[in-house]
Structures are given as structure tokens and as C-alpha cells.
């Protein structure tokens, strides 16, 4: 086990569980290694903590919790970067922002693709005007 000091306190982690972004994040190319932090509260949000720079941590979620038809299709090049073949599965995650008004928005334009087999991940860019970097959650369905 290894330890890092983060702004949320000391975190102990198993180096074999580290998720590697070979190319880093967009604009933050020095952030290659993250650990997934378990959320104490029940719910769809969890966070990934940078091992390279403890100041960086991102809240992430499965976007299909909120946008059931949201899909990101990894191309051949992206599959290569994840170290997976044409038939292998991968997960799509979205970085969550919390506005000063405490509303959450999803960065649907910059999804994270992650392979649980290789523990590799990358951040893609989707050039589609429907998917904004600050997409608010759809209005909640009224209780039935």
C-alpha cells in the first residue's frame, strides 16, 4: 500500500488499483495516475483522486444515470490507447462540476473512457453542440 496526502486527508491506496491516463487529461497532461475513492454516501457520484498531484480530484459519474441515450463510441485509435480490442467493453464516465449555486453539471463534451481490464483511461472530445461542457441535469421526473 502507498499513501498520499490530499486536501481531503491522508489516503492509502493499492498501486495495482491505479487508473492510468497515458496522455493525461486535456489541458492537464501531467495528471496520469488516479485512484477511485469510494463515496461514503449512497448515490451515483464518486471521485477520482490524482496521485501525481494531490491537489487535483474530480467528481465523476456514469452519465447514463441522467442521460440514458448518451453514448460514446471509441474509435480504433482510442481502443488502442485503452489497450483493448474491437470487441472489448469499456466504461464511459463524465466529470461533474458543482456550481457556486450548488447545482451539478456534467461535462458531456469531454467524456472519460475507461477499460477495467487494462486500467487505462483517456479523455475524449465530442464535437456535438448537444453535449456541452456544463450540461445541467435534466429536470427530475415528478414523483409518481
Amino acid at each position: 500500500m502507498k499513501k498520499i496526502m490530499t486536501r481531503f486527508g491522508e489516503v492509502e491506496y493499492d498501486p495495482s488499483n491505479v487508473i492510468t491516463f497515458p496522455e493525461g487529461l486535456i489541458g492537464l497532461e501531467h495528471l496520469h495516475n488516479f485512484i477511485v475513492m469510494p463515496n461514503k454516501k449512497e448515490g451515483p457520484l464518486f471521485w477520482i483522486q490524482s496521485v501525481d498531484d494531490p491537489d487535483f480530484a474530480f467528481v465523476v459519474t456514469d452519465p447514463t444515470n441522467f442521460f440514458f441515450d448518451y453514448q460514446v463510441n471509441a474509435d480504433e485509435e482510442e481502443r488502442k490507447k485503452l489497450g483493448i480490442g474491437p470487441e472489448d467493453d469499456y466504461f464511459v464516465l463524465t466529470i461533474v462540476s458543482i456550481s457556486p449555486e450548488k447545482e451539478i453539471t456534467l461535462n458531456l463534451a469531454g467524456p472519460i473512457l475507461y477499460s477495467p481490464v487494462t486500467n487505462k483511461a483517456l479523455q475524449g472530445i465530442i464535437e456535438d453542440s448537444r453535449f456541452d461542457t456544463k450540461t445541467p441535469l435534466p429536470k427530475a421526473e415528478p414523483a409518481q
Binding site: 481531503f8 487529461l25 486535456i26 489541458g27 492537464l28 497532461e29 501531467h30 463515496n39 461514503k40 454516501k41 449512497e42 448515490g43 451515483p44 457520484l45 471521485w47 498531484d53 491537489d55 487535483f56 480530484a57 474530480f58 467528481v59 444515470n65 441522467f66 440514458f68 480504433e76 485509435e77 488502442k80 466529470i95 461533474v96 462540476s97 458543482i98 450548488k102 451539478i104 461535462n107 463534451a109 469531454g110 479523455q123 472530445i125 464535437e127 461542457t133 456544463k134 427530475a140 421526473e141
Partner: protein, 96 residues
């Protein structure tokens, strides 16, 4: 918050940008494997064709900048907010 943006283009300000004038149909070769061609110039727009290896990442500048900006902003959250929002979302049902 401390930030270290290794690929922040501002840090390259000491470099002098190469500026070339090209006409429609002319091109530029960059390195061994990238070529850029000016396809058409029409009404303030310039159509550019780029030939590059598949693994070369090419983005519109403003799209790249927005995602970069969002990544930096997305690190500014605190644990109390996350806990509160998680509690709210846990009870939320999504229509699938």
C-alpha cells in the same frame, strides 16, 4: 490552488510564432507526416485540409479550450457539497 499546466501555451510566449502567407490551393508541411492545405477562402472563412497520422489529435481550438477550462474548474469542489448532492441524487429516480 496550485496549478501546473505543463501544456499551457502561455508558457511558450518566449517562442516566436512562424507566420506564413498562403493562397488557396497552397499548403504547408509540418515535420515528416503532417501536411496542411488551404482548400478555399470564402467570405471570411478559410477551409483547411489536414493530412496527419491517425493518432495525431486535432481539435478546434475553442472546443479544446472549453474542455481544458472545464477540467480546471471541475477540481474546485469540496466534500460537503459532494455529500449533500449525493444524498439528493440517491433519492432521485431516472426514467429509462
Amino acid at each position: 490552488m496550485r496549478t501546473r499546466l505543463h501544456h499551457n501555451f502561455d508558457t511558450y510566449a518566449e517562442y516566436i510564432m512562424l507566420v506564413l502567407t498562403r493562397k488557396a490551393g497552397e499548403g504547408i508541411i509540418i515535420g515528416d507526416s503532417i501536411s496542411i492545405k488551404i482548400i478555399e477562402i470564402k467570405g471570411g472563412n478559410i477551409r483547411i485540409g489536414i493530412d496527419a497520422p491517425r493518432e495525431t489529435k486535432i481539435y478546434r481550438q475553442e472546443v479544446f479550450d472549453r474542455i481544458k477550462q472545464e477540467n480546471v474548474e471541475a477540481t474546485n469542489w469540496n466534500l460537503d457539497d459532494l455529500d449533500a448532492l449525493s444524498a439528493n441524487l440517491a433519492t432521485r429516480t431516472v426514467k429509462k
